[in-house]
Amino acid sequence: MKKEEVPQDLSALGKVTTEVCYATDGSGKYTTEQSKGWDIKITALDAAWQDIEKRIATAREKVTNNEASPLLFFMEKGLMDIDILAGYTGFWKWQIKRHLKPGGFKKLSDKKLKIYADVFEIKPDELKNMRP
């Protein structure tokens, strides 16, 4: 890539900091050039976020229909999966799978609810009485 061809499409990151790109100057020698972002990257990131929004919406629907516990909604909202949630809470994965079902969730003690709530940075009440 030539220095003049380094794209300058303002991205969300570009508002905070420019990025260093390696590009060649007129004589073919490598040098660095600051970039504000690239259209292609922006759309790739947008695509990823659209997918996340969709997953959150699906989770919300499942909670409303009582097919899943509120835990699923907050997990998706925090961009987590069961592995990550297990890491942050210290629960086993099979425990979390159980808590993701409405039945298993109802049996949760206040202590365990608080552990989840702390990870999601909400009050235990909000987790328990989530109104989707």
């Binding site: 890539m1 380094v6 969300a12 990151l13 508002k15 905070v16 900091t17 420019t18 990025e19 260093v20 790109c21 390696y22 590009a23 060649t24 073919g28 020698k29 490598y30 660095t32 970039s35 690239w38 259209d39 292609i40 990257k41 759309t43 790739a44 990131l45 695509a47 990823a48 976020w49 997918d51 997953r55 961009l79 987590m80 999966d81 592995d83 990550i84 297990a86 890491g87 942050y88």
Partner: protein, 337 residues
């Protein structure tokens, strides 16, 4: 608590940290491309069954931590690395090193990093930054991908150092222990070792998911994605490929441009035309990766999406594999003096 640490912005976090730390102990000749090349950072791997953020696990570089340790090893720099179980111990150890006057590299997760824009904060744990001082409760932080230095409170730093999920950092810290100077001869040798090692990782590692074979394998897989996953999911997979390739920290073209820059710098030490020719080939490879990204963008934007378009996308990767294979074979045939 003084050290002569200087923040220099870089394209990639780990090479940036390596460069800045090594410059801090007196190796002024260190540059980002040199660190990347000596650390043999160029790679490709696609792990079919593993999912990251609900997309394919694709890497354009070696495992986090490897570039730093490899570069230091080749140059003969003595390093210290440690991970922790307890958050308290991790902070005490960090404070102690800072008090001794060291600038300390830390592996962190991105999700809770407050100075990053929200759109970029995923549960990605292979980010690196340097902590170079402490003022009251604030740690002075040099994140190589940012233009300027920042700071984090002790709570914020603890949180990112103990991020969870794949590749969790467990509070990992690392730094070069002593002041050190290297001769040109040593850098020359380190370049040789780095290139040889990178030739090995890309050409000879057995298995079909990594190196040049991995690129070819991914190319062939992409052609099947449309039927196998459906148009929408296939598009998301391609978006993930593009993000891994271009997103902050690759210097563009999936690290291929940094590597091309490294080969030019290597030529300054070795004076070998083959290095320059290989550099040009990697520039081509980088350009091709970016052309492929434009094609992928057409698909995940929904502008195009027929099977023929996926075939074109897959063929790009096959072409790249051929180009890079040629480049690495050229490098492997170099007669080192």
């Amino acid at each position: 608590m003084t050290n002569n640490f200087k923040h220099i912005q870089a394209a990639h976090c780990e090479t940036g940290v390596t460069t800045n730390l090594l410059r801090g102990i007196g190796i002024d000749k260190m540059t980002e491309p040199l660190a990347f090349g000596i650390g043999a950072g160029l790679f490709f791997a696609y792990i079919p069954l593993l999912k990251i953020n609900n997309g394919p696990a694709i890497a354009f570089r070696t495992l986090p931590g490897r570039i730093f340790s490899k570069t230091c090893n080749s140059l003969g720099v003595h390093i210290f690395r440690q991970t922790f179980r307890s958050k308290e111990d991790a902070q005490i150890a960090l404070d102690k090193r800072l008090a001794e006057g060291h600038a300390v590299g830390c592996q962190v997760g991105v999700y809770y990093l407050p100075y990053f824009p929200k759109q970029y904060r995923f549960h990605f744990n292979a980010h690196n930054l340097v902590v170079y001082g402490k003022e009251a409760d604030n740690y002075l932080v040099s994140d190589p991908i940012m233009e300027t230095v920042t700071s984090l409170t002790s709570y914020e730093l603890e949180r990112v150092r103990f991020a969870r999920g794949a590749l969790s950092p467990n509070g990992r810290l690392y730094y070069p222990v002593n002041e050190y100077t290297v001769s040109d001869e040593k850098i020359k040798n380190a370049i040789k070792t780095g290139i040889k090692s990178n030739v090995f990782t890309m050409l000879t590692i057995p298995g079909f998911i990594s190196g040049i074979q991995g690129i070819r394998f991914t190319g062939n897989r992409i052609k099947k994605w449309r039927d196998k996953l459906g148009l929408e999911k296939a598009g998301l997979y391609l978006a993930q490929l593009v993000r891994m390739q271009e997103e902050i920290g690759t210097g563009g073209g999936g690290f291929r441009y940094i590597y091309a820059a490294f080969l030019q710098e290597a030529n300054a030490y070795h004076n070998n035309d083959q290095l320059l020719r290989a550099s040009e080939t990697f520039t081509n490879a980088g350009d091709l990766w970016r052309t492929a990204a434009v094609q992928a963008a057409g698909i995940f934007k929904g502008r195009i999406g027929s099977q023929a378009d996926f075939d074109v996308m897959g063929d790009y990767l096959l072409e790249i594999a051929a180009v890079e294979k040629r480049a690495f074979e050229g490098l492997s045939k170099i007669k080192w003096r």
